[in-house]
């Protein structure tokens, strides 16, 4: 999709910001982030103490700030409130500015020139090498960031799983334009089936019995477990797809919602799979690098699909189905394939989630999960890979940050969604094509372009 690249530079503080950021390539930002996490690792503890914070803020100080706001909210309900805790708000902001904002801006800007030269050099070579270098840097940043504490690690893992899950739903709700509610069901099937594979085969378990196999490199079978879960989810999708794609309209929404409830109560009642308690004790195989690789591969494959002509056929079916048919598109096959494809990746995400949490039970995959993933898809933007990444990351972060507000969290997030729907009806970054070449290419300064 064409985006207008020759926008006139905006004025005021936005213009200044644009001018400041324009010459920095993706590589520069990654190096800036690396500097941030290194600074935090080296000096974070001391700085936090200096600012009067109990320890290093876990999510950029967001949790600290909302803890205080949560305290205020609880005060209204009559709980005691420490006025001194108000100081944590400016302290957290100062910490964020000193550790993240300023180093990122300064390092990224200072290294812009050499980073551009390197990016320019990489542009001339194979795209694969360039992508791998950028990904390695990104992984290094994430890894260092999570070494500070375990809460960060689990939050990041769940966030990455959410990215894959959101993207897989965007294929159906965004690219194909059908409204599917069964996605948590597919995730549940993926989670259970992959757990069945790993726990059933390699772990002594009360529900699933003794380990059937045992060898030292058993974790190498983890991709197989995930794919097994994904395929099971895709097959389940076929059951939903056959009746609902015979006709157009709201059938899919209704049938898929019914499917979600059926799957949930099925797992609740299947005593062989642990009933309402589910399965626990999954082997700890979903480490950060494994999740990172699976999510990157997932984004790559999904993006390949939606940018191919077979994937574009989905957009055609969404915008005008009879025109698509008249132009030789096999609409039924297209819809079925996309639906099963989306379900497959939801199943993969489910498998990852089960092994991150190391338990799985039916209650995880209820209507709340559906609301969460729909929020991520619609907040981030329909029909857009970047949108899904942004949506999943921002809603997960927000969900974690707003945790101190307890029940009020479920007032703030829906309100935010309503605002997005009013001002950007299709989401923040909708209908944008994800072009890795464009993202990685070196940037000229704004003056040169004009």
């Amino acid at each position: 999709m064409a985006t207008n690249s020759t926008q006139p530079p905006a004025h005021g503080w936005r213009g200044t910001l644009q001018q400041f950021l324009a010459p920095i390539p993706a590589l520069g930002f990654l190096l800036g982030m690396l500097a941030c996490v290194l600074i935090e690792k080296g000096a974070g503890e001391g700085l936090a103490g200096l600012l009067g914070l109990p320890k290093i803020p876990i999510l950029f100080g967001l949790v600290n700030i909302f803890n205080v706001i949560g305290g205020v909210v609880h005060m209204i309900k009559g709980a005691p409130f420490e006025v001194a805790s108000l100081l944590q708000i400016p302290a957290s902001l100062a910490y964020f500015a000193l550790v993240y904002l300023l180093p990122l801006a300064i390092v990224a800007r200072l290294l812009a020139k050499p980073a551009n030269q390197v990016a320019g050099g990489l542009q001339g070579r194979s795209l694969l090498i360039s992508v791998l270098i950028h990904l390695a840097l990104l992984y290094a940043v994430l890894h260092l960031w999570t070494t500070v504490n375990d809460y960060r690690l689990i939050t990041l893992k769940i966030m990455l799983v959410a990215v894959l899950f959101t993207l897989s739903l965007n294929v159906i709700n965004g690219y194909m334009g059908e409204f599917s509610c069964s996605h948590p069901g597919f995730m549940a099937i993926g989670a259970y089936m992959s757990s069945l594979f790993t726990v059933g085969l390699f772990v002594d378990d009360k529900v699933l019995g003794a380990a059937k196999l045992g060898f030292s490199m058993a974790y190498l079978t983890f991709p197989l477990a995930l794919i097994f879960g994904g395929i099971a989810a895709a097959l389940a999708a076929l059951i939903v797809a056959i009746p609902s794609f015979k006709t157009r309209g709201d059938y899919l929404a209704i049938i898929s919602l019914a499917f979600l409830f059926i799957v949930k109560s099925l797992f609740e009642n299947l005593q062989g799979l642990g009933g309402a308690r589910g399965i626990s004790g999954q082997p700890d195989w979903a480490s950060l690098p494994v999740i990172f690789i699976v999510v990157v591969v997932g984004i790559w494959v999904i993006n390949n699909f939606v940018t191919s002509s077979l994937g574009k056929a989905l957009n055609a079916v969404r915008d005008d189905e009879s025109a698509a048919e008249a132009m030789t598109v096999n609409t039924r096959k297209t819809k079925m394939a996309a639906f099963m494809f989306g379900a497959f990746w939801a199943g993969m995400a489910g498998g990852l989630l089960a092994h991150v949490l190391r338990y799985v039970n039916p209650a995880m995959f209820g209507i709340q999960k559906l609301a969460e993933v729909l929020a991520m898809v619609y907040f981030g933007g329909l029909n857009s890979v970047v949108g899904s990444i942004v949506g999943a990351v921002s809603i997960s972060l927000l969900g974690e940050a707003l945790r101190p507000l307890e029940i009020f969290k479920w007032i703030v997030i829906p309100l935010l969604l309503i605002l997005v729907m009013i001002y950007r009806p299709t989401g923040l970054i909708a209908f944008r094509e994800f072009d890795i070449r464009k993202i990685l290419r070196p940037k000229g300064s704004l003056d040169e372009e004009v």
Partner: protein, 257 residues
């Protein structure tokens, strides 16, 4: 043997007979017109041939084979391209994407090719893009390739639809009122476009039209449809002077006086 041969095609919508005993034979490379007042069933005939509806009775043969009961996409990929009276473009897609997508049935890389970005896929996508650009050039809209269709003026959207229909490499092109809503200037332009695609690609064209001047100038043979029945067939001159046609268009009183 005729390219498209229709014998005794009849269609009912419930109890209403929309098309009755319609016969047609179009030779390769011929331009044919179908005229008639509003509601005569012209678009229904298009929809019956292209598989959106299945005729209640009758035979439809294309290149000597029956295409009755096939899905619209199967019929299209055998070589029948069409445009729609109410433009049916895909509103979030660019011009180039429209034309490329109509080559769907020519792609052989399959789902695995789509998922894993294979060389096979890259080759076919490039071929498809090159072919799409040629068609855009033929229709004079190559400069609009990267525009989203909804941003384009009406005349350009018509051309996009035609380019898209040509991308399926049809042997016959159905045009459903290609001049509707056009200014006289756009009208002469689109006439030139139709003439040039006819001469360059050598395909047969079957068009529905309201503007008689347009049909008379373009078509070799014309049929006139009234209430689902073909009341006359002939060359433009014959049709113009046929009392039944004049009656259908202007009313009985005008003919008598």
């Amino acid at each position: 043997m005729a390219l498209l041969q229709i014998n005794h095609m009849t269609h009912y919508f419930g109890g209403l007979r929309a098309v009755s005993d319609f016969n047609l034979s179009i030779e390769a490379g011929q331009i044919r017109g179908l005229i008639g007042p509003n509601g005569a069933g012209k678009t229904t005939i298009f929809n019956l041939i292209t598989g959106i509806y299945t005729p209640t009775e009758g035979q439809v043969e294309f290149k000597g084979e029956s295409i009755l009961g096939l899905q619209p996409n199967q019929i299209a990929s055998r070589g029948i391209g069409r445009t729609f009276q109410d433009l049916r473009l895909w509103r979030h897609m660019t011009v180039l994407e429209h034309v490329k997508l109509a080559r769907y049935s020519k792609l052989t890389y399959g789902l695995m090719g789509a998922f894993f970005d294979t060389p096979h896929r890259n080759r076919e996508e490039h071929e498809s893009e090159a072919r799409a650009r040629e068609l855009l050039q033929l229709l004079g809209i190559e400069h609009l390739a990267d525009q989203i269709v909804t941003n384009l003026p009406y005349g350009a959207q018509r051309r996009v639809e035609m380019a898209r229909a040509l991308a399926i490499e049809p042997q016959i092109l159905f045009l459903d009122e290609p001049t509707v809503g056009m200014t006289p200037e756009e009208l002469t332009q689109i006439m030139d476009v139709i003439r040039s695609i006819h001469s360059k690609l050598g395909l047969a064209i079957f068009l529905i039209e309201h503007r008689l001047k347009f049909v008379m100038e373009l078509c070799e043979r014309i049929q006139c449809l009234v209430f689902g029945e073909a009341i006359a067939e002939g060359t433009p001159d014959e049709i113009q002077n046929n009392p039944q046609v004049i009656e259908a268009y202007l009313g009985k009183d005008m003919v008598e006086t």
